[in-house]
Amino acid sequence: MGGKVTCTLGEVKNRADLIVYWGGNPAECHPRHFTKYTLTQKGKFVPKGRKDRTMILVDIRETPSAKAADIFLQVRPSKDFEVLTTLRALIKGQRVSAETVAETGLTLEQLQDFAERMKKARFGVLFFGMGLSMTRGKHMNSAALLSLAAELNAFTKFVAMPMRGHGNVTGGDVVMRWTTGYPFGVNLSRGYPRFNPGEFSTVDLLLRGDNDAALILGADPGATMPQPAIDHLARIPTIVLDPKVTHTSRLARVHITTAATGISAPGTVYRMDEIPLPLRPALKSPYPTDEDVVRRIYKAVAKKPAWFPGTK
């Protein structure tokens, strides 16, 4: 199965009586999530708020989010996929042996209880974080969780949603899709979009040293990427647009200071559920907006002789 069974956050607020966080620590990483959308909000069909909801946290370590949970399930590292697969079997009434479950760090009883709670929920939601999607198994883990959510719809209403963060990463993904058909990892060098994560993703290009220049906007790869990738950014002409000094701006050939979007520049931000919100700047900035700078660069580049695929 591919795809995703999901909803906007207001559906969770109004309906969810079972909320599962998997491989994430919202208490610290998305501090408003509990209070604005999920746990403590009183919803149309969960009028008593927190009292009407059950929260289950699944993670490899006990984070501050565990305090908010009714049930905390500590999985052995790298065993998420096995747990998810077991749950998919259990909801369908298939037999699972206690020994196979043991290696996950959980007991069969715990998982049976979990499966039953999911099937009995009126409206359940699985939020999953980078602890699931960026650890061993990566997209296989996400796919298993998304399949679990889809298959639960044979019994009740169930949805899943990734816990995305890092500024407007969702907005970037959304706009890339309508302009190129793909969310990220797009190569336009042949004059049309090609998609191959693992080949054309930023980190892979940098690690192989394929690109001979970089324009970086709204991101600080110098803080998060592996050292050889950062070394390549330092080697090539790297241009950074950022309101502040960052790890990347320090190693860049050019740093253009821009107005901070949302504070002194207008724009649109897409929430993790892909709902667009307009940004109204509260302050004025002496610096140009990112959009201004990109438009000016584009105009200057457009004066150069054009290159089109098939021409020399």
Binding site: M1, G2, G3, K4, V5, T6, C7, T8, L9, G10, E11, K13, N14, R15, K36, Y37, G43, K44, R122, F123, A150, N153, A154, T156, K157, V159, V174, V175, R177, W178, T179, T180, G181, Y182, P183, L188, R190, G191, Y192, P193, R194, F195, T268, Y270, E274, I275, P276, L277, P278, A306, F308, P309, G310
Partner: protein, 540 residues
């Protein structure tokens, strides 16, 4: 200034049927005479008003969700390589926005109506429409599962419901109102559906699908919107659903309505094994009721992706196909489901669907009330319209195609008995003049003095599919945008919007409900008019 000379003109709205006639253009409009300027010699060609698509899905959260789900389709189709006057992109079942504009214009279509927009993500839809060049655009806002409205209908407050709906239409910067599976999508929020027109919607006591349909059709008529209620009936796709469709048409008596993609609503039988065409029953009733218009929602064999606000139907389709499933419920308003799909000639259900789309186009006798669509991308991608035109115009070609079906399928359909062939003039009606009139766009769909200068010029050829797939010239707003198979100018389109009248105080009613049930600031809910490129507010 531009003169088109020597072409056979098909302008059914002005009773011009293949006469050789000059068409003169100045300042983006059709005029009676021009002096100087360019002349296009259209000798041996036919001249049509630009195509108008009354029902398509080309922009917004649901379509963009689908794009992410089908990278394999993007790879399968020829890419769109960037050139001096156009951007690169992807075609296929869910073309990227720029390519959507190029492909529609490249086929002679110059106006499109995006048929399903949630208010909550309307800002996103308008951002995409802004990035869809050349064509003019309008959109319909989804209201038939809006819980603020349903709660008002439950309470019997129809007057207030009208003000709320009017406010919502303007908040979404919409042009019309769409109803999808009335009550069924709201029920789907609990994993249920609304199948009986007169049964209460789950979660309500008095609200039934019939009540929602009647209320919304009246609201749209009372507000004087140029386009009637745009209705996707209950029980889409289900065997035996023609009864629901007939019942729905009865509910609509005395009111205007446009029934979307009628093909998906004209099946008999009790299950997938006994499913058969009921196009004759549906067409008969429809023919006798001039308050209604419809579009075909025709199916062509091949790969596509289905996208609809009808969440419960998509869950069923996922269970049937076992393939990918996307679902996106939108708080308090609507939902959407996405399932990639392949229509196969040898599959009985698919064969019936293919035949029913064509049957309805052939059995509905007034071409001014039935329009060419595939419910893009549900039945097939819009860029395959020329194939349908060929099927309609050439009975021998149709018979050839029928041979590809399983013999068993032929007993379930009427198509083998139908020998009607569309004329060029009728094609001009179902692709342009009719849908323009149904949308209430008086300056579209014809070539009379004062009309928008949207013109498509085709070779007059025996190879129908080819001639309609590759127009010689396409003119949009007086500018030559396509010539000799190339994009000459990717002009910007307009966005049509209506501003119905409502009591400004209605906001005081909506605001507290919004703050209670939604998750964004009320001030951020309505789409700013500035989000639209070239907004054109139509009076109502």
């Amino acid at each position: 200034m531009l003169r088109i000379t020597g072409g056979k003109v098909y302008d059914p709205a002005n009773n011009i049927n293949g006469q050789i006639k000059d068409i003169c253009i100045s300042d983006g409009r059709i005029v009676s005479e021009v002096e100087g300027g360019r002349t296009i010699d259209a000798t041996g060609m036919i001249v049509f008003p630009g195509g108008v698509d009354v029902h398509t899905h080309v922009a917004g959260a649901a379509l963009n969700f689908a794009r992410a789900m089908i990278p394999e389709d993007h790879r399968r189709n020829a890419p769109y390589v960037r050139g001096e006057r156009h951007r690169g992109g992807i075609g296929g079942a869910t073309p990227t926005t720029y390519v959507t504009g190029y492909l529609y214009a490249g086929m002679g279509w110059t106006t499109v109506n995006e048929a399903a927009v949630p208010i909550l993500s309307a800002r996103h839809t308008h951002e995409e429409l802004r990035d869809t060049p050349i064509v003019d655009k309008s959109c319909c806002v989804l209201l038939a599962n809006n819980e603020i409205l349903l709660d008002l209908l439950e309470a019997g407050e129809t007057e207030r419901a009208r003000h709320v709906a009017a406010w919502q239409i303007w908040a979404a910067k919409a042009y019309g109102v769409k109803a999808v599976n009335p009550g069924g999508v709201a029920a789907w929020k609990w994993g249920k559906d609304a199948k009986g027109l007169y049964e209460p919607v789950p979660g309500y006591n008095k609200v039934t699908p019939a009540k929602i349909i009647a209320a919304l059709a009246s609201i749209v008529d009372d507000l004087g919107l140029p386009h009637p209620l745009h209705l996707h009936c209950n029980n889409l796709g289900a065997p035996g659903n023609y009864n629901t469709t007939l019942e729905t048409m009865k509910v609509l008596e005395g009111k205007r309505a446009h029934l979307a993609h009628l093909q998906y609503h004209a099946y008999g039988g009790d299950d997938w094994f006994t499913m058969r065409s009921k196009s004759a029953e549906v067409a008969d009733y429809f023919n006798a009721h001039p308050n209604l218009t419809t579009d075909a929602g025709a199916v062509l064999f091949g790969n596509t992706v289905t996208i609809t606000a009808d969440g419960p139907w998509q869950h069923l389709l996922y269970k049937l196909t076992g393939r990918k499933w996307g679902n996106l419920d939108v708080e308090n308003e609507t939902g959407c489901g996405i399932v990639p799909y392949v229509y196969k000639e040898k599959n009985l259900v698919n064969a019936v669907q293919w035949a029913v789309g064509l049957e309805l186009l052939l059995l509905i006798n007034d071409p001014w009330r039935v329009f060419l669509t595939t419910d893009h991308p549900n039945g097939a991608a819009f860029w395959r319209y020329p194939e349908i035109i060929q099927l309609l115009m050439d009975v021998n070609f149709r018979r050839e195609q029928l041979k590809k079906l399983a013999p068993k399928a032929l007993k379930r359909i009427l198509l083998p008995e139908l020998d009607r062939q569309y004329t060029l003039s009728e094609i001009a009606v179902i692709t342009s003049a009719g849908p323009a009139r149904a949308l209430g766009l008086a300056h579209k769909g014809h070539l009379g003095i004062g009309a928008d200068a949207d013109v498509a010029i085709f070779n007059d050829s025996k190879d129908i599919a080819r001639m309609f797939a590759y127009p010689r010239y396409v003119i949009k707003g007086g500018e030559v945008v396509i010539e000799e198979g190339e994009i000459r100018k990717a002009v910007e389109g307009r966005g049509y919007v209506v501003r119905p009248v409502y009591d400004e105080k209605i906001e005081d009613y909506i605001r507290p409900l919004f703050q209670q049930y939604y998750t964004m600031s009320f001030d951020n809910y309505p789409v700013e008019l500035e989000r639209l490129e070239n907004p054109d507010i139509r009076s109502c």
